[in-house]
Structure formats: C-alpha cells, structure tokens
C-alpha cells in the first residue's frame, strides 16, 4: 500500500440479519492501525447496500463477516451483484464462524480468503497486503 502513498480503501461489512459485530469491528480496527482506510458498514445490510457502498466508496476490497451460518447464500448474492455491476475487480474476503467444509465452496465462488476464529492479526494484515498488491 506504500505505492504512491495512497492507502487502499477497504469496506468491512455485515450482510443479512446477523448482529455479531465483534470480529468485524476488531478487524476494522487492526486494519486501520495498519494504515488502511476502512469503512465499516454497521450490521444488517443487504447485499445491494454493501455492493452500492463499495462502488460509491471506490474500495479495493470487501470483507464480510458471518456468524449466522448464512455465508454461502449471502456471499453468492454479493458475488452476483458485483458481476452484474461490472465491479468484480473488487477483492472479496470473508471471516467468522465458517465450517471448514464450506471453505472450498466460498473460494470457488470467488472469495479470495476466509479468516476463521483464532487467526493471528499479523496473518490477516499480511494476507490483505498481499491481495491488494496484486
């Protein structure tokens, strides 16, 4: 992100009805501390709202957090909307309580990285940096 000294913007969001925001806020804070400009959407946003604000805010990455088990259908909707709006260059990452069996399905859908409970802060920061560098 040091290139041209313009920090890349990231949108951290909560889609659907899930209110667990601790992880999303924590990741927002550690990415901010790492120098990124991070927009946190608050809870209970629709896939449409997430995609619209990602485009409007011109973010390079969207990170979505799920602890409700609804990650597969809701990620699917976000992916479809990004494609429909020609915004699928935005990198998509996820986090939360995601069963290991679902990781392959998420990656196949186009989710670049999934951070599950216990992941080290440094690991998140490094992976985000690597994804944004490409």
């Amino acid at each position: 992100m040091s290139e041209e000294n313009i920090p890349k913007r990231i949108l951290i969001g909560k889609v659907g009805l899930d209110g667990h925001h601790r992880g999303a806020k924590y990741v927002t804070n550690i990415l901010r501390a790492a120098g990124y400009e991070v927009i946190y959407t608050g809870i209970r946003k629709s896939p449409e709202q997430i995609v619209a604000s990602a485009i409007q805010e011109d973010v390079a990455m969207i990170g979505l957090s799920f602890l409700s088990g609804a990650h597969l259908p809701l990620f699917h909707q976000v992916v479809d909307l990004l494609k429909a709006q020609d915004a699928d260059d935005i990198i998509l990452v996820g986090g939360g309580v995601i069963p290991p069996d679902d990781l392959a399905a998420l990656k196949a859908m186009g989710v670049a990285e999934v951070f599950t409970p216990g992941v080290a802060d440094q690991n998140i920061i490094e992976k985000v940096a690597a994804l944004l560098k490409d």
Binding site: G16, L17, D18, G19, H20, H21, R22, K25, Y26, T28, N29, I30, I39, Y40, T41, G42, I43, R44, S46, S68, G69, A70, L72, P73, L74, Q77, V97, P99, P100, D101, T116, P117, G118, A120, D121, Q122
Partner: protein, 566 residues
C-alpha cells in the same frame, strides 16, 4: 437446629449467633416446604459438611464486615446466594440452548435433551423470527432455520411443543424485540393443551437495550420497545404470574468484548431503565421486580467470575432497596442464568474446549447460578452435534453429582483474594452506573454510543493481548498443532427453508382474511393509543396472524430502528 460440639463457643461469636438465627428462621422455613436433598451431606471420604461456613474470629471488624457485606444465603444483601439452602435443596436447572431448522426438527432435539436429563428447555429462534420477519420475507433469504428454529405463526409454535406438556417443563426463550409475540404464542399453545397461563413457568429474554449496543436483533426504536416491555410486565402480573418477564442479559455484552465489571455495570444500568419505565407506567416495584431475572456469561478466569456473580448480587440488592425502595426481599434477589463463554471457545484443537467449559461450570456453580447452559466443544466451528451437546450436559452432571461443590453454600467465601475481587468489581460496576446516570440513563448513553465504544475498546485490547502473546490461549498462540483433527460437523439440512416455506404458505392460505385484517386493524389502533398491547397480540396470534404481519403493523406506528454506522 444444629447440634454440634461447637455450640458453646458459638454463642461467643456474634456471627455464629446470627447463623443460628438464620438456621432457625430462613433455613427452617424453606426446609419445611422443600427439604434438602439429603439429611447429611459429607465429603467423598465421609467427613460431614456443614450447610454454611462463617468466619471464626469474633472481633468487631470481622463481625461487622461479615454481616454487612456477606450476610446469609437467602437474606439481604444476598452476596452468598439467593436461596437459603442453595443446591442442597435443589440443583440448578440444566438448560441447554437449542434450536434449528423447522419446528418439527427442533421439537425432536428438545425431546432428545429432556430424555438425556435436561431439566428445562431453552429455545433458540432463527434471526427472521427474532427480528420479526416471516420465513417467506425477502430479507429472510438464507437465514431461515440457521441459528435457531423458524417460527412465523402459532401453527409453527404448536409443532415446536408437540408432546411436551407446558405445565411440566419450564421454557426459556431467547427473544427480544418480538418477545411479546412469542410469549403470546406460548400462552396460546398452553391454552390448546388445556394448561392455564397461571401455571406456566419460564423466561423470555425481552431485554431490548442490549440489542442496540451488543446483540443486534432490534426492530423498533427504544421508546416503543420499552412500552412493549412494560406492557408484558403488567400483563404477566395478572395473567402469567410465575413467568420471568425479562432476563436482563450481560452475556451478550461480555461476548461483544466487555470486561467483567462492564458486564455487571451495563446490565444493571439496563435493569434500572426497565424498572424506571415500569414505575412510570404505574406499576409498583414489588409487583413486578420479583419476576425480573438476569443472564450472565462465565469465562475461564475462575475466581474473577465467582467474584463477579457475588458482586452483581450484592450491588443489585442495594440498588433495589436503596434506589427503588423495594420492601419485598424477592425484589432484591438477583436470580440468574449462566452460559459458558462462547468467545472463549477455540476452533483450534476443539477438544480443549471441554476443559474450558468444565472450569467455567465450576465457576458458575461456585458463583451460585440458578441455571446453566454449557457450550459444546465444536461451537467455534458450527452448531453443535448431538454428541457434543450431550458431552456438554454431562459436564454439568459431573460437577453436580461428583464434585461435592453442592454440599456447602458459597464455598469460596472468605478467601482474601475472592472477597477483595468482589469488592473491586462491585465498585467498578457502580462507577459505570453513575456515569450512565449522569448521561441521563441507558437510552441516552446508547444514543451517545457510550457502551458501544467502551465495549469496542475492551474487545480491541483483549484481541491485541492475544496478538502480542501477552495473553496465552492454548492451541491458538501457544502449544499449537499443525495438523487439525477433522471431525463431524453439524449442518442445517438444505431442505429446511423450502419445507418451512411450504407449511407457512398452507397456514396462511387456510386463514379467514377478513378476521386477519380485523385483528391487525385493532392492533394498529391500540398501538396508536396507550392500551396494553398483549391482549391484541394474543387475539391476533390465535388466528395464525404471523409475526411478520404483526411487526409490520407495529412498525407503521412505531417506526424502525437502524444503527448509525461508523
């Protein structure tokens, strides 16, 4: 009552004299009605165990300190417990929070838990139900039956409790913004079973304030939400008197990242707001306060947790007596449910979680909880499997039947460390309440973002302490393994959403549309005025008017709350 060789020395110690009084009055009274489980309690090797241990020293400072700060179980300030004989009279309720899929599937899990020795039910609802959307709403897509059972109409609720006699089981329902509707459905199911609402026992969470800053299932703004809560209080006083009308919850505050002191402080500040609201609505404190219940988390720092429960009891008793002028001791008792800490579970080496849960269970019992949910080892990964839920329940049973912890009340009292921690947590929580009072109460504090930002700061500090290695989490930042053991993971079957939609469509089609419209019109009119809304909601649910329809109608009058994002 007590004939031991110590009786002569006893009389020289004012604490012992008081203890005799307690035995002869408070204990004798409850023992007549609910005798202790055994005539004589002993250690595992046969030594007799007394009901309660008190300080031996008879100097003025020790005596005064003991009598004012600790006192006796079942007596003000309730530091040592709310019941006179605690677990010697009755074990805590072993209550496992469960629910997923549709009503038929959840009903099977409840019957399984009851068959394995669970002594109460605890219903988890899916998010659409918790926020007041029907399973067929667009916004509910992908969420139906995920984190709990989907309930849209009375017909779903009837299937949920099919074959479970509601006068024989106590049921806790984790439901907040839509609590009035689910309670109405529960009453309607009881009526159909031929059970009088007066016989129903259980709890609705009904704690909306923490939803705005910690849990997120709000629907309406604070003011009309508080009105619904005091309508429930008033309705239950005259119709469902044994029901716990609210479970004021620190659990989610702690899960969102708070410290132990913040858990007590914010929870009791919420309680103060509910009590003020009910008083303003014209209720008398001793009418409704005995039915207020609490819900806390239990983490792994064992003694801090024990101290937390004791501090919360003492502080609440003082608030009820001094601030609200309660006269009935029942109004001053902080009765609580506990759940072991979800956030303390790790996805790495999940078997380690069994040990964490056992330590947390130990702390909850030493802290005098009235009921307990133990988490399953696999909950950092998914909903628990049947097998891991059974292990979690067995953990409670081992503590109850093998550990000897139930033999004496408040067994850790008198530990210098524990008493000091209890004092400090109480003082810190009281300071937080003072800060919130100065802001104009909890609603104003939430509008200012105060509890939100305090919790976020604490969560950030906690996370950073793990990242830097200052705080060790076994299997996560030390003692890690490269190969993770794969094991069976529970998933909600795919066809649940479709099945629920089909049955909802059929239920809706079978109704008389003009009756539905009339019930909703009556509800809307009542919402615009000041009548108690419970009878209107009850009339509506009896006609299978859905939760989505009721909430939509209320929303047209009350408006919808939405969080200010950062």
């Amino acid at each position: 009552m007590r004939n031991t060789v110590n009786d002569t020395t006893t009389l020289e110690n004012p604490v012992e004299i008081e203890k005799q009084r307690w035995e002869q009055t408070t204990v004798a009274k409850v023992n007549q009605k609910f005798p202790e489980l055994k005539a004589q309690f002993t250690t595992s090797s046969g030594l007799p165990v007394d009901r309660l241990y008190v300080p031996e020293g008879a100097d003025v400072a020790t005596v005064n300190n003991y009598l004012t700060k600790l006192g006796f179980p079942g007596e003000y300030p309730f530091t040592r417990g709310v019941q006179p004989t605690m677990y010697r009279g009755r074990l805590w309720t072993m209550r496992q929070y469960a629910g997923f899929g549709d009503a038929t599937e959840a009903n099977q899990r409840y019957k399984y838990l009851l068959a394995k020795g669970a002594t109460g039910l605890s219903v988890a609802f899916d998010l659409p139900t918790q926020i007041g959307y029907d399973s067929d709403a667009t916004i509910a897509r992908g969420e139906v039956g995920r984190v709990g059972v989907a309930i849209s109409t009375l017909s779903d609720m009837e299937r949920l409790f099919d074959g479970i006699p509601l006068d024989k089981v106590s049921t806790s329902m984790t439901i907040n913004s839509t609590a009035a509707i689910l309670l109405a459905m529960y009453i309607a199911v009881a009526e159909k079973q031929g059970v009088s609402p007066a016989a129903l026992t259980g709890t609705i969470q009904n704690d909306i304030l923490k939803e705005y800053f910690a849990r997120g299932t709000y629907r309406f703004p604070p003011k009309p939400s508080l009105r619904l809560i005091s309508d429930i209080f008033a309705y239950c006083v005259s119709h469902v008197p044994k029901w716990n009308t609210i479970s004021i919850s620190g659990y989610h505050i702690r899960e969102a990242g708070s410290t132990a002191a913040q858990e007590i402080g914010f929870t009791l500040a919420d309680a103060i707001c509910y009590i003020d609201t009910a008083l303003k609505a014209g209720l008398k404190v001793d009418e409704f306060a005995p039915q207020l219940a609490f819900f806390f988390a239990c983490h792994t720092d064992v003694l801090e947790e024990v101290a937390k429960f004791r501090a919360a009891r003492r502080l609440y008793a003082r608030i009820m007596k001094e601030r609200f002028g309660a006269q009935d001791p029942k109004s001053m008792m902080l009765r609580f449910h506990t759940q072991t800490g979800g956030v303390t579970l790790t996805a790495q080496q999940p078997d380690n979680n069994v040990v964490r849960v056992a330590l947390q269970t130990f702390a909850a019992i030493c802290g005098g909880t009235q009921s307990l949910h133990t988490n399953s080892k696999d909950e950092a990964l998914a909903l628990p499997t049947e097998e891991s839920v059974r292990l979690a329940l067995r953990t409670q049973q081992i503590v109850a039947y093998e550990s000897g912890l139930i033999n004496t009340i408040d067994p850790l009292a008198g530990s210098y460390y524990l008493e000091d921690l209890t004092d400090r947590l109480e003082a810190e929580a009281e300071n937080l309440i003072k800060t919130i009072d100065e802001m104009g109460g909890m609603v104003a504090a939430i509008e200012k973002g105060y509890p939100q930002s305090e919790i976020e700061k604490a969560a950030y500090a906690y996370g950073r302490s793990i990242a830097t290695g200052e705080r060790v989490i076994v299997g996560v930042n030390q003692f890690t393994e490269t190969e993770e053991t794969r094991f069976q993971i529970f998933s909600v079957p795919e066809e649940v959403e479709r099945r629920q939609l089909e049955s909802l469509t059929a239920t809706k089609a079978a109704r008389d549309a003009s009756q539905v419209a009339a019930a909703l019109a009556a509800l809307e009119k009542a919402a615009q005025g000041t009548d108690n809304l419970m009878p209107f909601i009850l009339d509506a649910v009896r006609l299978n008017v859905s939760i989505g329809e009721i909430c939509h109608t209320l929303e047209t009058v009350f408006g919808e709350y939405s969080e200010n994002s950062i």
